[in-house]
């Protein structure tokens, strides 16, 4: 396990932050940490890299308790409000951070990273004169300087142009192919959907859903059926197995939380002697899932 937390809680005078988070992130996975503004995502990541002292609970990175120097040895971090020493040039900044990591002869690595984040040609400019997006790019380079086993990226594309966003996606995929772990804070759901293997959704500091992205999405499959010659009992039975059930003329429309229910329902229709003309399924998008879960959480 690259990252593990047990009932980890961080609150500010009993308010905000996050509560009783238990998470496991395996090696080589891209883990998406999602939630609305103020849900506790940044607080969580800051706690992981040792800036905030947890109120209670435990957490380990690569088996080392968080807050220790050892736990940060193989970690990369891109802060949400990235700011770098602006009196240095890009190259000097990378050398400085390489020195902080105690990397010997970082020259080659620095060149590689400048290439990766598309800042070649800007390395001798002062950071002061970098655009916001360029600063985020150099931040990503810094986060990758030490070939980290796990990278925490707190909204890594917040300042990037559309091309930059695609590039970051590629970088994340590349890290995954090198069996590195990525912990991605984001509310850009389409982005998360494209790169993440697993996600956790956090709201008001509590994790309200967690698991493999595919599994979570499968749980919310939308089904449309066209049938004739049905009995009221059949309709009644189907409505009990599903959610958001709608019935109009010959058309049924509903959601199931488990895909395995679809063949069961089809079988019921046939066995009841009705005629099945059409059956369409559509897994919901992460956005649907997100809105749905947050909406439900707000009610309860």
């Amino acid at each position: 396990m690259v990252l593990e937390t047990q009932n980890l809680t961080k609150q500010f005078n009993g308010k905000g932050g996050f509560k009783e988070v238990t998470l496991f992130v395996e090696k080589g996975k891209v883990f998406g940490f999602l939630g609305p503004n103020g849900a506790g995502k940044t607080t969580f990541v800051k706690t992981m890299v040792g800036f905030l002292h947890p109120t209670s609970g435990f957490a380990w990175i690569l088996g080392k308790p968080i807050g220790t120097v050892e736990s940060r040895e193989k970690v990369g971090f891109l802060p949400e409000n990235f700011r770098y020493h602006d009196w240095m040039t890009g190259k000097e900044l990378l050398s400085f951070h390489a020195e902080l990591y105690k990397i010997k002869n970082p020259g080659k690595k620095i060149d590689e990273l400048l290439e990766l984040v598309k800042l070649k040609g800007h390395e001798n400019k002062l950071i002061k004169n970098y655009s916001k997006g360029m600063q985020q790019r150099i931040g990503i380079a810094i986060a990758l300087l030490n070939d980290p086993e796990i990278v925490f990226l707190d909204e890594p594309t917040s300042a990037l142009d559309p091309v930059g966003r695609i590039e970051v996606r590629e970088i994340i995929k590349q890290l995954k192919s090198q069996c590195k772990t990525v912990f991605l804070n984001s509310h850009l759901l389409s982005e998360v959907e494209m790169v993440c293997d697993e996600v956790a959704i956090i709201n008001h500091g509590r994790v309200i859903a967690q698991g493999k992205l595919d599994d979570l999405l499968k749980e919310h499959t939308h089904v449309e059926m066209v049938i004739t010659d049905y009995t009221p009992e059949l309709i009644e039975k189907i409505s009990r197995l599903s959610k958001e059930f709608q019935f109009k003329e010959n058309k049924l429309s509903f959601k199931v939380e488990d895909r395995e229910k679809i063949p069961i329902i089809a079988k019921m229709v046939i066995e009841a002697g009705a005629k099945l003309y059409q059956l369409n399924t559509q897994t919901s998008s992460l956005e649907d899932l997100f809105i749905n879960l947050i909406g439900k959480d707000e009610i309860s």
Partner: protein
């Protein structure tokens, strides 16, 4: 920690505050040199001239010391708090380094810079006096001891500022630094006056008010002992130089009441405690 020291030093050289202070000191030294050239134009032989010359030297060192203190404040108030306020701290402390390494690294880096700067100021002032033909006879050991204490004061002041900067904001650290320095300065003057009153022994009343002034001075020295160290510096430089100590060191810029050895033990623990406390509070902070 070496990296922090190195980059603290580099940053200083690139900062405007440093350039400003350098220009200011250059200006000061030129004016002082010009003043000396005028003063030493006329021949001087009498004992009173030597006393006058020692006053000139003391005054020169006094203002040099003030400029160094100014530089210490300018360059160091935001040493830690500035990193927090600008957010650059997140790029530093997410690395496998301990928080104390940042605080001590900054302290050492700034210390090196301040010692260099302060030494240049001291040696320039003393050097100018010798160059223009001061009649005070300086021994090398006097100069070295004086230099040591001249540099020690700013370092002690730096320890206070670094500790404060690790705990409070830049603005508050600035206020604390200037207030502490001001109090120490005023307290030092009070103590001098107190000693003068006591030595003159005009009346029982004088004796008593002299004593209370001395006590006030001692208390302010405990808050920030820069003035005590400064007086020790003057004493080391002048007192033993030509064997007429009681006359040489009189005056507002000189040191009549000399700090005791306990004061110096206190100063040692003062620096250690401030750094320890600053590091401790900084390590416990949520950033």
């Amino acid at each position: 920690m070496i990296t922090i020291i190195k980059y603290t030093f580099k940053e200083m050289l690139k900062k405007r505050a440093f350039l400003l202070a350098s220009l200011l000191s250059l200006l000061y030294l030129s004016i002082y040199a010009f003043g000396l050239s005028r003063i030493f134009e006329r021949p001087s032989d009498s004992i009173y001239d030597i006393i006058f010359q020692s006053e000139i030297l003391s005054a020169g060192l006094f203002f040099a010391n003030l400029i160094v203190a100014f530089l210490v404040v300018l360059t160091s108030v935001n040493a830690i708090s500035g990193e927090i306020e600008s957010g650059t701290i997140y790029s530093i402390l997410s690395k496998p380094i301990k928080r104390y390494e940042l605080v001590l690294g900054k302290f050492i880096g700034l210390s090196i810079m301040i010692v260099l700067y302060s030494s240049i100021m001291f040696l320039s002032v003393v050097g100018l006096n010798i160059w223009f033909g001061s009649k005070i006879s300086f021994g090398w050991d006097n100069i070295l001891k004086g230099l040591f204490f001249f540099d020690l004061g700013p370092i002690v002041f730096l320890a206070l500022i670094i500790a404060s900067s690790s705990i409070f904001s830049t603005i508050n650290t600035g206020i604390i630094a200037i207030m502490a320095y001001g109090i120490a300065l005023v307290g030092g003057v009070l103590e001098q006056i107190g000693t003068a009153i006591q030595q003159s022994q005009v009346s029982a009343f004088g004796l008593k008010s002299g004593e209370s002034l001395i006590n006030a001075g001692i208390i302010t020295s405990l808050i920030l002992p820069t003035d005590v160290i400064y007086r020790k510096m003057t004493a080391e430089l002048l007192t033993q130089s030509s064997g007429i100590s009681f006359m040489m060191t009189q005056g507002l810029f000189g040191g009549m009441s000399q700090p005791s050895i306990y004061m110096f033990i206190y100063i040692f623990f003062y620096v250690v405690f401030l750094l320890y406390y600053g590091v401790k509070r900084f390590s416990q902070r949520d950033l």
